[in-house]
């Protein structure tokens, strides 16, 4: 980029640098050594490839949705087919991409290293988790190939149980199995963080990335089983006609929604919390400053997890819950916004008086700060009962959750992938291309989803493939943005793959970051550490890092 831009990147001399002779990638050879591995780092890479595959499937459906919405008429596909598009988009993106994104890739790879352990507590359960992900994924693909499911990702009754002939049970089975993949990942993280920290690694010396994943893991373990039983009940309703959600037999369709959202609201925190952990790490590193208010950020992660269990009925305000219930859940929803806001403030104060540089991970982090704030604020608007009555089931909701999930979580995921790519692969990606991709993504995202806030406010319903002609301009803008966004997401796929062979050698600590993962080789050894570290410094201790690197020998002779 510009000759005057400052960067903290510190690479070894490229004329003599090589990848370490022995690392987790070349430790063993052959497909079976990957398919039967217990190494958390290899499992992370397996997950990374898997979720990337499903991301592009989900993305393809997004493209089809936006293509249909270019014109006000329902002229591209039949309405049932359109319903299948957004259902598959939601199911694939949420369960097969967003929920496992940071935990199963970056969490799996980094958590043991960050706390000074040799592996997760249960390596075989970790591998099982990946296999369950694929079995569930195959069921989902089967549902797709057999003709799709058109209930929406929310499987709302009685539509899903009584009025559709599509492959609801297949899709529900897939999601059920993926749920167990998620549960086992969370279980592994909780036990690891509690019981396998290195000597001196107290709770409050852990990187905040660990705190965030810990909080998300609690949600995974406690929330996902409720989704599981809900899907079992839907399947039984469809297959046997038991009547649990059928008003004619005495059941209550709203019972489904209570049980479904009891998981699915904590699910959004499962999705965002690990991303927030990434942002803590990235902002600290590229401001050369410890995270402001470490304790507040740590506790706010746990607070989000706790309060996240108390607010689910804000997805049901217009569905027939009692007014009193709606009021209570609305008030509680206001409460759950507070810890998220605390984090944003703390990140902002971390930036203040820091030495800020704008490498690619930081660009994504800045994108996150702005877009997640907008998404979160619109969430507060929606939490207000009076507003939600009008805005629910419109494009305002669609815009809100895409701002937090895509503008927030996906940007955080990309920040994390770019930040830890050198550690996982030993290679740097081309910086100018990656910056271009980040900016393209940001522009494309805003062009896609800002118009949707306006559309929702003006009254365009969601999940409709036809709309009044006066909404067309905004829809066209949105589709144009989606095209730009698609380009922005394709680019990393290309240059990251390129970097595996041609990227610069990264060395141990190209970002000069704190954290145990940056003190070991890139890529790491299978056993992570030659000797278990003894930790005597706080997290984000840049003085300790400066002192340590001053004494380091990096050249020979």
């Amino acid at each position: 980029m510009s000759a005057t831009s400052y960067t903290i990147v510190n690479l070894p001399d490229q004329r003599t640098a090589t990848l370490p002779k022995r690392n987790y990638l070349n430790n063993e050879d052959g497909l079976l050594s990957w398919l039967f591995t217990g190494d958390h780092k290899r499992i992370a890479i397996l997950y990374l490839i898997s979720i990337t595959f499903f991301f592009f499937i989900g993305g393809a459906f997004a493209g089809l949705i936006r293509l249909e919405l270019l014109t006000p008429q329902p002229d591209l596909v039949a309405s049932d087919t359109y319903n299948k598009f957004f259902s598959m988009h939601g199911i694939v993106m949420i369960f097969l991409f967003l929920v496992p994104s940071v935990p199963a890739t970056l969490g799996n790879f980094l958590i043991p290293i960050m706390i000074g352990a040799k592996d997760l507590a249960f390596p075989k359960v970790n591998l099982l988790s990946w296999y369950l992900y694929w079995i569930g994924g195959l069921f989902t693909l089967a549902a797709l190939v057999l003709g799709g499911v058109d209930t929406g990702w929310t499987f709302t009754t009685p539509l899903s149980t009584h009025y559709l002939n599509t492959h609801v049970v297949t899709a529900a089975t897939g999601v059920f199995i993926i749920g167990f993949s998620s549960i086992f990942t969370g279980l592994n993280f909780i036990v690891t963080i509690h019981r396998m920290r290195a000597p001196g690694m107290t709770w409050f010396r852990m990187p905040l990335f660990c705190w965030s994943n810990y909080a998300a893991s609690i949600l995974m373990v406690l929330g996902t089983p409720v989704l599981a039983i809900t899907l079992v009940l839907v399947a039984l309703e469809r297959l046997v006609g038991i009547g649990v959600f059928d008003p004619t037999k005495g059941g209550d369709p709203l019972l489904f929604q209570h049980l479904f959202w009891f998981y699915s609201h904590p699910a959004v925190y499962i999705m965002i919390l690990p991303g927030m952990g990434v942002i803590s790490e990235v902002i600290s590193t590229f401001s050369r400053k410890r995270v402001f208010g470490y304790t507040a950020v740590a506790f706010s992660s746990v607070a989000i997890a706790l309060f996240g269990f108390f607010v689910w009925a804000h997805h049901m305000f217009i569905m027939g819950v009692s007014n009193y219930s709606a009021l209570v859940f609305s008030l509680l929803t206001m409460l759950v916004a507070v810890p998220s806001a605390i984090k944003i403030f703390n990140w902002a104060f971390t930036l203040q008086k820091g030495s800020i540089t704008f490498e690619t991970p930081m660009l994504y982090a800045f994108g996150f700060l702005g877009l997640f704030t907008i998404g979160g604020m619109t969430g507060v608007f929606l939490g207000a009962l009076g507003m939600d009555i009008h805005l629910t089931e419109t494009y305002f909701i669609v815009a809100h959750f895409h701002f937090v999930m895509v503008g927030g979580m996906l940007m955080a995921f990309l920040a994390g992938i770019h930040f830890w790519w050198p550690k996982m692969t030993g290679r740097m990606y081309p910086e100018s291309l990656s910056k271009l991709a980040a900016v393209t993504t940001f522009i494309g995202f805003n062009l896609t989803f800002l118009p949707q806030f306006i559309l929702g406010y003006l009254g365009m319903p969601r999940r409709y493939h036809a709309y009044p002609p006066e909404f067309q301009v905004l829809n066209v803008l949105s589709t144009a943005g989606a095209t730009v966004l698609g380009v922005g997401y394709m680019l990393p796929l290309l240059y990251l793959a390129w970097s595996l062979k041609y990227g610069a050698i990264a060395g141990n600590n190209p970002w000069q970051a704190t954290g145990l993962e940056w003190q070991i080789q890139s890529p790491p050894l299978t056993e992570n550490f030659i000797e278990i570290p003894i930790v005597d410094h706080e997290a984000y201790d840049y003085e300790w890092l400066a002192h340590k690197t001053a004494q380091e020998v990096t050249t020979v002779g």
Binding site: M196, P199, G200, M201, V226, F310, S325, V328
Partner: protein
């Protein structure tokens, strides 16, 4: 290498607590469980009005607590395990009570 310093006692959280519960204790617990099974059957035949389900659940909860503390060793486990058990039941109660709050309040008021 250096002397090992582990102030948070990560490596041996139980610190030689291998408390073995004796078969006698188990037998007492077993007897208690059978006794209370009989009591709960008997209580079902007595008309206690609104308290029938309360008594039944109280007895079942007592039995569950006894199984958890003794058969499942929780009485002699670390604080972490105790906290974990409590967290599980807490979340279960949140599911039950907060969902029920919607249904109970549906007939109230006439907004």
């Amino acid at each position: 290498m250096s002397e090992f310093h582990d102030p948070s006692n990560v490596l041996n959280p139980e610190h030689a607590d291998h408390h073995v519960i004796s078969p006698v204790t188990y037998a007492i617990v077993f007897g208690t469980l059978l006794l209370f099974t009989g009591i709960t059957v008997g209580a079902a035949y007595i008309d206690l009005g609104i308290f029938n389900p309360v008594v039944a659940l109280a007895i079942a909860s007592f039995k569950a607590v006894v199984v958890i503390l003794f058969f499942m060793h929780v009485k002699y486990q670390s604080h972490l395990i105790k906290l974990t058990v409590a967290a599980g039941f807490f979340t279960f109660l949140v599911l039950i009570t907060m969902t029920m709050s919607d249904y109970i309040s549906r007939a109230w008021g006439l907004w």
